[in-house]
Symmetry: C2
Subunit: 267 residues, 2 copies
């Protein structure tokens, strides 16, 4: 007897429940967020297809489609005859837009991932703003202005915090897009989990909010006036303010503004 049919199924315990009429997309979301929450260590075996079928009461086909999504995001690896297992964090496709969606809805944000993403933004975004100041057209400016107006109008109101966060995302995404390079533009997807997680967990004072708004406005203005250096500086100052909020929000005062080093061996 190799089955553990009636056992407690420990490996399935971290899985949330699923609505009864779920489709493959929802199932993939549940599974992905369980991995992103760190419920499995890299190299750990992932539940077998049939176990997942029983646990969620869905067909094997649906499970396979969901697992295919996780595979294409680099979260798991599969092999006929051997099973599925969780890949190490360095192999995850952080730039897959699907990953952004999964990360955004996470209740407990993955601290290491957030540090990595923010460190990336810190090193890249000022330069993106510089490119944007060289290439932005009228449409880009309109997008920036729409997003900024949304931030201004929803500032300070606790009921409109989600709206404020979305406008914040839209603003930064508009900067990436204004670079008029398809690769940078794709990278804008990375912003959502980073910004949402921050806004949700930080309690800003009104003064901080005004200051943040003003710094965003300077970025927009520099891009409008085609001043690359000014745009670079203004963006760096926006991120500096964000880093402040971040260190206030997190109980552990990590060095969020220096490039964190980790991920030693690898293979």
């Amino acid at each position: 007897m190799f089955h553990e049919e009636n056992g407690p199924d420990m490996s399935l315990s971290p899985l949330a429940s699923l609505s009864p009429d779920a489709d493959a997309r929802e199932l993939a979301t549940v599974l992905a967020r369980a991995i992103l929450s760190g419920h499995w260590n890299p190299g750990d075996g992932f539940p077998r297809e049939l176990d997942l079928c029983r646990h969620f009461a869905v067909s094997r086909n649906l499970v396979r489609n969901a697992l295919a999504s996780l595979t294409s995001a680099g979260l798991i690896e599969r092999s006929a005859g051997r099973g599925s297992w969780v890949r190490e964090i360095g192999d995850w496709h952080l730039l897959d837009p699907q990953m952004s969606v999964w990360m955004t809805g996470l209740e407990t944000t993955h601290p290491q991932l957030m540090r990595e993403i923010f460190a990336f933004r810190l090193s890249a975004e000022p330069h993106v703003a510089e490119l944007a100041a060289q290439a932005a057209d009228a449409e880009d400016l309109a997008r920036l202005e729409r997003a900024w107006n949304g931030m201004r109008d929803s500032a300070g109101d606790p009921k409109r915090r989600n709206e404020h966060a979305e406008c914040d995302v839209a603003f930064h995404a508009a900067v990436y897009r204004a670079s008029h390079n398809l690769v940078w533009r794709q990278m804008g997807h990375l912003l959502r989990p980073s910004i949402i997680a921050l806004i949700q967990h930080s309690q800003r004072r009104a003064g901080d909010l005004d200051d943040s708004l003003e710094r965003h406005r300077r970025v927009m203005e520099a891009i409008r006036l085609r001043q690359p250096q000014a745009a670079r500086l203004a963006t760096a100052q926006v991120l500096e303010r964000t880093a402040d909020d971040l260190s206030k929000a997190s109980s552990t005062v990590a060095s969020s503004s220096s490039i964190p080093e980790l991920q030693g061996p690898g293979l």
Copy 2:
């Protein structure tokens, strides 16, 4: 009669043939490369599942798995009852590692994509090298040296051109990885199609090769000596040489070093 059962099936004509024992991965590759080659315009309808089944003589299941890959790469969009259609180039997930694999094997390289990717490298890679010079450890240096030695040993030999290209890719990927940031590291996947396409299509003279080797060596040395500014400059000069080779290789002397602007409206 709405079926066009026996028609010439024009929409299937750009599809290459498939080996008889193909799996979903191969089928996805054939379909993806057909799209990447530009055989469909954005918004064009993609063949229906059953047509693809007949054309390739495979099961519907296999076709569906292949189409799921294309969907997760942002190449097509699907909707129950309406069918599948090709998305516009700005929505393609250029940073999906799977896309790099598909692009690399392409016979006719997609000129716009290659320009976009190279423009990105030109704007980002010097800064990545700067980060690498701050964060590289012994293992990173070993990887760089291994790759550079491979480039040196295979230089000039027409029979070892693929090997040379692979080492070139490995060198630049090692720089991205040495930044010790997971996001930049993932971005290293983007290098392969860019470098391979260039090496395959350019006929370098021996002197150019030596020069390229020397410039790569300077990058490695600057990283080893922890000299960020020198690493930045050296990388910029490597890319400058590459740009020269590019403009020699392409018959149309496009402005490959300026950020190309395109993609106007796009909702």
